[in-house]
């Protein structure tokens, strides 16, 4: 990728970001800008470095080299706790605190910031992710997997973040729940004017939800395309390898459907 001057509306910028674990390079010198309001999918096989890159944004992982700039500031220079309240984080493990009620889980970020959430706001957040407000008093162990991840999303949104980071957020859910929650997140993204970065290994999910797809391979960024451009065959071999899987599945399904209706 050629060095492009940072766009003025970039909320997030990676500058030569690197991460090494001993001799292993997980992320090798990434340069990239993410515009305010965009929904970006970070796609790649396991071990491509996509999760590591995401975690360098909210400093769960420290870069070995280069800088991550969020809203004009180097993230390593911002107070950790403060940064993480401005950046919502949803991940595959969900990680609801089992000894807190649903409501307490949702309110934990603002509580840490010293601004306890009102019950009405908790109810509003639950409604936002399509859960009953009465659920606030339940314990996490009483919920289904899908309900738990909805609470996870509500918790990430509780602090009115500017940026939402999602690391394989729907990985542990069944396909129907997964599809419904994906659509819900996309809807909230638009409604709340968020900037969203989602890590996934599922290209179909990326193509369906994101408006920009970044493809990573062994620590490097190998493609930066819109879904339409990827479907049109652009982005190189690795990206097309990933795109071909859901594409072929879709074609196969379409053929089966056509044959079924022909007979």
């Amino acid at each position: 990728m050629p060095d492009s001057p940072p766009k003025p509306d970039a909320i997030l910028r990676f500058e030569q970001v690197e991460r090494r674990y001993g001799d292993v390079t997980a992320v090798a010198g990434i340069d990239c800008s993410i515009a305010r309001g965009s929904f970006v999918a970070l796609v790649g096989a396991s071990g491509s470095g996509k999760s590591t890159l995401l975690k360098m944004v909210n400093t769960l992982v420290a870069p070995s080299g280069g800088r991550v700039i969020f809203a004009g500031e180097d993230v390593t220079g911002v107070r950790q706790a403060q940064l993480r309240r401005r950046v919502g984080y949803v991940f595959q493990g969900i990680g609801l605190f089992p000894h807190f009620s649903v409501g307490e889980n949702i309110a934990i970020g603002p509580r840490l910031a010293g601004e306890p959430l009102a019950g009405a706001r908790i109810a509003e957040l639950l409604t936002l992710v399509e859960l009953e407000p009465e659920m606030a008093t339940r314990m996490p162990e009483e919920l289904s997997g899908g309900q738990r991840q909805r609470v996870g999303v509500a918790r990430a949104l509780a602090g009115d973040p500017e940026l939402l980071l999602m690391d394989e957020p729907f990985g542990a859910l069944d396909p129907i729940t997964r599809d419904a929650l994906g659509d819900k997140v996309r809807e909230l993204h638009t409604k709340l004017g968020l900037t969203t970065v989602m890590v996934t290994h599922d290209m179909a999910e990326a193509l369906l939800l994101a408006d920009r797809v970044l493809v990573m391979d062994t620590g490097s960024m190998v493609a930066d395309e819109t879904p339409a451009s990827l479907l049109a065959g652009n982005g190189g071999n690795v990206a097309q390898g990933l795109v071909s899987v859901p594409k072929q599945q879709a074609e196969k399904l379409a053929r089966m459907e056509a044959e079924g209706s022909a007979s």
Binding site: N58, L60, Q80, A81, Q82, L83, R84, R85, Y89, F91, G93, I94, G95, L96, F97, P98, H99, I108, G109, L112, A113, R155
Partner: protein
């Protein structure tokens, strides 16, 4: 068994001391283990060292660990000054706290290692600082497991605390050790049941707290905690109520004669209006240090013991010279006042059945020399290795036909049945009187003397009031009177007396 109930009810002060000691040790153990566990969960090196060390401590027998703190604290006096206690509460507390460390530490570390990584990532993800993470997430989720560790530690500590009797700390071990020595099984049983009952009760209450933490039921864990706190407060109140700094503390070693003499001394002091506390069943090596440091006030020790163990002397200057040397050394080196000799010896001696001695015409060790080659000598397992035996052999040129080892009880049986002709006995042993044995004279003074002496700690050394009360005991107890009292306590069945009863009889006999 009514002795048993009486014994059990009389254990209030021991129980209170036991509770306070155990609770303090567990508290100290927790105070060390928890921060260490947090540190260990963040550093694999600390984890290895901490768990390795506490496992190592666990392999040391509790009795040895308690005893080891005496030299450790003694050497620490160089740093903390002469007021550092080397016996009693402090060493018992430290040893038991070390012992409590492992189960608490291991459970805490395991609990932290098994926390759901997703939950920990979420804690970081929502912006918790590492202190908030510890307080809000790690601690509450680990609490039930840590509590299980504290439960294990508590049961161990309450059991092991009985051993602190041997280093001069009152506990429920007092009745156990005293009962074992005087063969008073009701007393042993009372001590064991009290200690086991306490352990079970504490286990039950801590179990309630553990379940309360796991179920997040404030009622359960709060109730359990309240009950534990109430028990501890009662013990503390009881102890501070009965505590008397002016009380005179009388020590006894772990055999009947010592228990009897302690009661004899104690009842005289009580009659004269002094407050008295007994510290029974101390390790033999501990007693001298305890009296020298005023941890206890009065003990009865033996010239031969001090001569060998404390003065490190191997020669035998004769009975009176040995005594005079010891009196001077105690005064100058330790500030201990030797009030005087009680009148009897508890020495090694050779004893024979009266009929056998008459038959052979033996009255002294010298008389044995011509007939020894036809005789069998019996001794306790260590006797034939001791300097006393070597000294006798060399002084008289004795050479026995056969030498046999017996445990002390069987030694007397062997003599009775004729399997041994001569045995090594203790001169004040009650069985000498009971079996009507003849103690052979030692005209060449090859056997060192073991005169019983009354020792006063530096704290009361100059108290002439106390000295005046105890002076009548000096020179008043014949070896025959002591044997009879010892036998009354050691014997089985009809006529068996407690040390206190035997002391009363002894007092009457010697006209006090």
């Amino acid at each position: 068994m009514n002795g048993f109930w009486g014994n059990l009810l009389g254990l209030g002060d021991k129980l209170a001391a036991h509770i306070v000691l155990s609770a303090s040790a567990i508290g100290l153990g927790i105070a060390f283990a928890l921060p260490l566990a947090v540190w260990a969960s963040r550093s694999p090196t600390v984890n290895r060292i901490a768990l390795g060390f506490s496992s190592l401590v666990q392999t040391i027998p509790a009795l040895a660990l308690l005893a080891l703190f005496f030299p450790i604290l003694l050497s620490l006096r160089a740093v903390f000054g002469e007021d550092l206690p080397t016996l009693g509460f402090l060493p018992a507390l430290l040893a038991l706290a070390l012992y409590a460390l492992l189960p608490i530490l291991r459970n805490s570390v395991t609990a932290q290692a098994n926390l759901d990584p997703g939950v920990l990532e979420a804690a970081d993800g929502v912006g918790m600082t590492s202190w908030q993470k510890l307080r809000l997430v790690e601690a509450p989720l680990s609490a039930p497991f840590i509590m299980a560790g504290i439960r294990t530690a508590s049961v161990w500590t309450i059991g092991a605390a009985t051993l602190s009797t041997t280093i001069g700390q009152p506990s429920l071990g007092d009745p156990i050790f005293a009962g074992l020595q005087t063969q008073n099984w009701a007393l042993v049983l009372a001590g064991c049941l009290a200690s086991a009952g306490l352990a079970l009760l504490v286990d039950l209450l801590l179990g309630l707290i553990e379940r309360g933490l796991a179920d997040r039921s404030t009622f359960k864990w709060g109730g359990g905690l309240l009950a534990v706190a109430a028990g501890l407060a009662t013990a503390l109140a009881y102890q501070s109520g009965s505590k008397n700094d002016d009380a005179i503390v009388i020590a006894s070693k772990q055999f009947s004669e010592q228990y009897i003499l302690a009661r004899l001394i104690g009842s005289r002091l009580e009659d004269a209006g002094y407050d008295v506390e007994y510290r029974d069943g101390l390790g033999s090596a501990v007693v001298h240090n305890a009296v020298a440091s005023s941890s206890i006030d009065i003990s009865v020790d033996y010239t031969g013991t001090i001569w060998t163990n404390n003065l490190k002397r191997a020669d035998n200057p004769g009975r009176d010279a040995m005594y005079e040397t010891i009196v001077q050394w105690e005064r100058e080196a330790n500030g201990v006042r030797v009030l005087g000799r009680l009148g009897f010896e508890n020495a090694y001696a050779f004893a024979m059945r009266a009929d056998r001695a008459a038959e052979l015409g033996v009255d002294s060790l010298e008389d044995l020399v011509p007939v020894a080659s036809r005789l069998t000598v019996g001794g306790d397992p260590e006797f034939f290795e001791r300097p006393e035996w070597i000294s006798v052999r060399e002084a008289y040129g004795l050479s026995f036909g056969e030498t046999r080892n017996f445990s002390p009880t069987f030694m007397y049986n062997a003599l009775r049945s004729g399997e041994a002709d001569v045995i090594s006995a203790y001169t004040s042993d009650g069985r000498i009187a009971a079996d009507r044995l003849v103690v052979l004279q030692d005209p060449r003074e090859a056997l060192p003397s073991y005169d019983a002496m009354l020792m006063l700690s530096p704290r009361i050394a100059d108290d002439e009031g106390i000295a005046a009360v105890l002076k009548p005991l000096i020179g008043s107890i014949s070896v025959e009177a002591m044997r009879e009292a010892n036998f009354a306590v050691d014997r089985e069945g009809e006529g068996k007396l407690s040390p206190a009863q035997a002391a009363d009889e002894l007092a009457a006999k010697i006209g006090l």
